[in-house]
Amino acid sequence: MAEVKLTPNKEIDLKVEADVITPDEFAGKGKSEIEQLLVWQGPSQYPLSDFFDVEGEGGSSAEDTTIVINGDVSRVKLIGAKMTAGKIIVKGSTGMHVGSQMAGGEIVVEGDADSWPGMEMTGGVLHIKGNAGDHVGSAYRGSWHGMKGGRLIIDGNARSQIGGGMTGGEIIIGGSIENFCGIRQTGGLIVVKGNAIRAVGAEMSGGTIVIGGNIQKFTPGMQNEGEESDLEFEDIKCSGTFKKFRGDFAIAKNPKGIVYAGKETNPDL
């Protein structure tokens, strides 16, 4: 397995778009070729080496290539976008769109991720160890088709519109979330260990959401369907007792979306 190490070499003012940072692009390329890959800053393109010191070279295929980003890249967008194989490790925080439309391979972000991680992803694993912004694994504006497959794990908190239009795959969030989690979801699974503010499962017609903590403002179109304990979704287990709801009846006459809300944490529901 070949490893390419990218070390940020300057403070970035205007944000940079680096959708070339993928194992697919790096595969088969030597150090100097990687250095010459072009990234965008505003309307101009610059070699990758203007922003990163490059060490190592790509493997023979994407699968054989690991990219380690050695530092904070919170002003760099689109890292790992559309990647199909291989691995990216970010030893810091990333900007928007990390792993956007990714189809395979693995991305690990040790810090935080800005909004839109894993937009419309179809496969692979995207693991963010810190917090994430809005639109985790969601669809682009106007589209009702978000994440289709793969797994998105966020150890910390995430904000609004998680899994918008999700049709498949799993999103697992260790911390708390804000608004409109699973909006327009039609398939797949979202598990949130912490609390939610509002509109969980709004406009969903399929798929499953589990909220372990408290939901401040519940979605009115959800109808109670009793209780279930110790949920299991293949390798994902949620222990404890949950109130089960089906919905969203605001959006459909016979919706198939399921929301589980922790029983202890939601005495008022």
Binding site: A139, Y140, R141, G142, S143, W144, A252
Partner: protein
């Protein structure tokens, strides 16, 4: 501008009955000429078309590319845009949109396919300024637009009262006020009912309050159209569109003007053509495929094209465009609010609707035609049936009702299906078996020639809408609009449809008004565009009396009378066509 010679190509010019003869085409000062002087030849730019196909510039007589409903489509569909982008170049603007394209892209992509002329199919009068604003921004294409009148309060009132003189004066005033070209009639009487959430279901059902029937409106508008000598026949989007069984309504609708004689009265200098350039049809049915559904529900849905085609084969007063469905992404948009609403209920997707003061309405919803969907696959077959079962190509025009059946950029695929039986067979194999079981297409082995294609995409649309004085032919005096496709007719292999599609998609040359706009499928210059509208002469007294009515009823409009018309400022090279001058 230097003269231009398109040399040595295989020329297909149906209006001059030229079928693949090798010849030269000469253009001077933007017009086709019979030849050039020696001095002119010396300075002329020469395009070597040896081994290539030469046709007049393409003409689209029914497309949705400008105006408020088109823009509603663009507005509500960012997901249609974000993956379909064309960056700016030194001479072109950027653009985006697979089915709801931005204005610049519309001009460029039509030109890249060899088209030079496109007419916008529906203008809501009160929003005509918007349509013109967009047309002004569409590069390269010569354009015109049809005014929606089938549910207009003034029109319905005059027709109900039988006041044909004022009705004629109203049409004349409206065409001038809004700089539009012909009459469009969408779901007559039904769209007004949609103002209350209703529709009409038969030709003899009177609508709410105005108490006029679709039949009366169609008849009235067809009569007025010919009385005024308007360039094109009354352009009908029939009632019940998109509902199983609607073909029967369509059949009845086509019969309404069967006794009305076409009368086109234009003060223009016609280009020289062998075939009589004036039109002989009294009704132009649009997107026939959507109006040809048979069956009683989606379960027993089937093609109703055959009975309609049979009727058309026996009745010369009808011309149609097809509204083909080439599969894939589309955006449904029409002035028929209730029909779009029904589609949106079926899809459960996004839905836009806009009813317009005293005039008309519109609806928009995204749509995807899937090969494995039984109904969609039949619709694909039906669109091709419309063109293949009608015997006389001069009664048919190829469209996708862009972007309803699919975007116009898919015309090359449709052209290839028409030319290649093996390509149709291949598609039958790929799609749901209903396509074969529930249409007649499988039994058709007709393969269209390049000559037929030239009729369906150039000569006949131009003739139908009364533009042969400039468009649709390579006759002397016609506009210097020429398409060169890199297709050698002597070596044409229609089984290689992939190559055919590619060659129709990227013209070797598109020449517009004598300027080379496209070379090898790329935009190389941006010739000026023009907007045509009808300036119809009517009796002044009738006009005065009509205007008195209009002003009185104007209090029901939310816009003032003074701000209602469209000033010429919104048009690029406004070109009035004087109509009804002999009367």
């Amino acid at each position: 501008m230097a003269a231009l010679i398109v040399k040595n190509g295989y020329v297909f010019d149906p209006l001059n009955e030229i079928n693949g003869e090798v010849m030269d085409v000469f253009i001077k000062d933007g017009k086709i000429v019979s030849g050039l002087s020696e001095a002119e030849i010396k300075d002329a730019k020469v395009i070597d078309a040896t081994g290539k196909t030469v046709m007049p510039g393409g003409v689209d007589s029914h497309t949705h590319i400008a105006g408020s409903k088109v823009n509603s489509g663009r507005f509500m569909r960012p997901e249609d845009h974000y993956k379909y982008n064309k960056p700016k170049t030194d001479i072109t603007h950027s653009g985006c949109g697979e089915t709801t394209k931005t204005v610049y892209l519309e001009g460029y992509e039509y030109a890249q396919m060899g088209y030079t002329t496109a007419f916008e199919a529906a203008v809501p009068p009160m929003k005509a300024r918007h349509t013109h604003e967009e047309m002004r921004s569409i590069p390269m294409l010569d354009m015109g637009a049809y005014l929606v009148l089938g549910n207009n309060w003034f029109m319905m009132r005059y027709l109900k009262e039988g006041d044909m003189e004022k009705a004629a004066a109203y049409i004349s005033w409206m065409m001038r006020a809004h700089k539009t070209y012909g009459i469009k009639c969408v779901n007559p009487a039904g769209v007004e009912n949609w103002g209350w959430g209703e529709n009409v279901s038969s030709l003899d059902e009177a609508n709410i309050h105005f108490e006029i029937t679709p039949r009366e409106i169609i008849k009235g508008l067809c009569e007025l159209n010919e009385e005024l000598g308007i360039p094109m026949p009354m352009h009908l989007h029939a009632n019940n569109l998109g509902h199983p069984g609607c073909y029967e309504t369509t059949l009845e609708s086509l019969a309404i003007p069967s006794k009305i004689k076409a009368r086109q009265d234009l003060a223009v200098e016609w280009a020289e053509t062998k075939i009589d350039p004036s039109r002989d049809r009294s009704i132009y049915l649009t997107h026939m495929q959507f109006n040809a559904f048979a069956g009683t529900s989606w379960r027993d849905f089937e093609s109703g094209v055959k009975p309609l085609a049979d009727y058309i084969n026996k009745n010369e007063h009808v011309v149609i465009d097809s509204g083909c469905v080439p599969f894939g992404n589309a955006t449904c948009m029409t002035g028929d609010g209730p029909s779009i609403h029904d589609i949106a209920v079926l899809t459960g997707g996004k839905w836009s609707n806009c009813d317009v003061d005293l005039e008309c309405g519109s609806g928009v919803c995204p749509f995807t035609y899937l090969k494995n969907n039984p109904v969609h696959s039949v619709q694909w077959a039906m669109g091709l049936e419309c063109l293949l079962l009608i015997d006389n190509p001069w009664q048919a025009i190829m469209t996708t009702d862009s972007p309803n059946g699919g975007p116009f950029t898919k015309y090359p695929i449709v052209m290839s299906w028409l030319m290649s039986n093996s390509f149709r067979e291949q598609t039958f194999d790929e799609c749901h078996k209903w396509a074969n079981d529930r249409s007649e297409l499988g039994g058709v082995d007709r393969e269209m020639s390049l000559y037929d294609i030239a009729i369906l995409t150039r000569a006949n649309p131009a003739k139908t809408i009364g533009m042969v004085h400039r468009k649709g032919s390579l006759g002397i005096g016609a506009d210097g609009d020429v398409t060169v496709y890199d297709i050698d007719p002597t070596k044409l292999d229609v089984n290689n449809h992939e190559e055919l599609i590619r060659k129709f998609s990227r013209a070797a040359y598109t020449i517009k008004g004598g300027e080379i706009a496209v070379k090898d499928g790329e935009i190389v210059s941006l010739p000026n565009q023009r907007t045509y509208y009808s300036d119809i002469t009517v009796d002044e007294t009738a006009e005065k009396a009509m205007l008195a009515d209009v002003k009185e009823w104007f209090r029901y409009y939310s816009i003032g009378f003074k701000h209602y018309p469209t000033p010429e400022k919104y048009l690029t090279n406004p070109t009035a066509i004087n109509v009804n001058t002999e009367k």
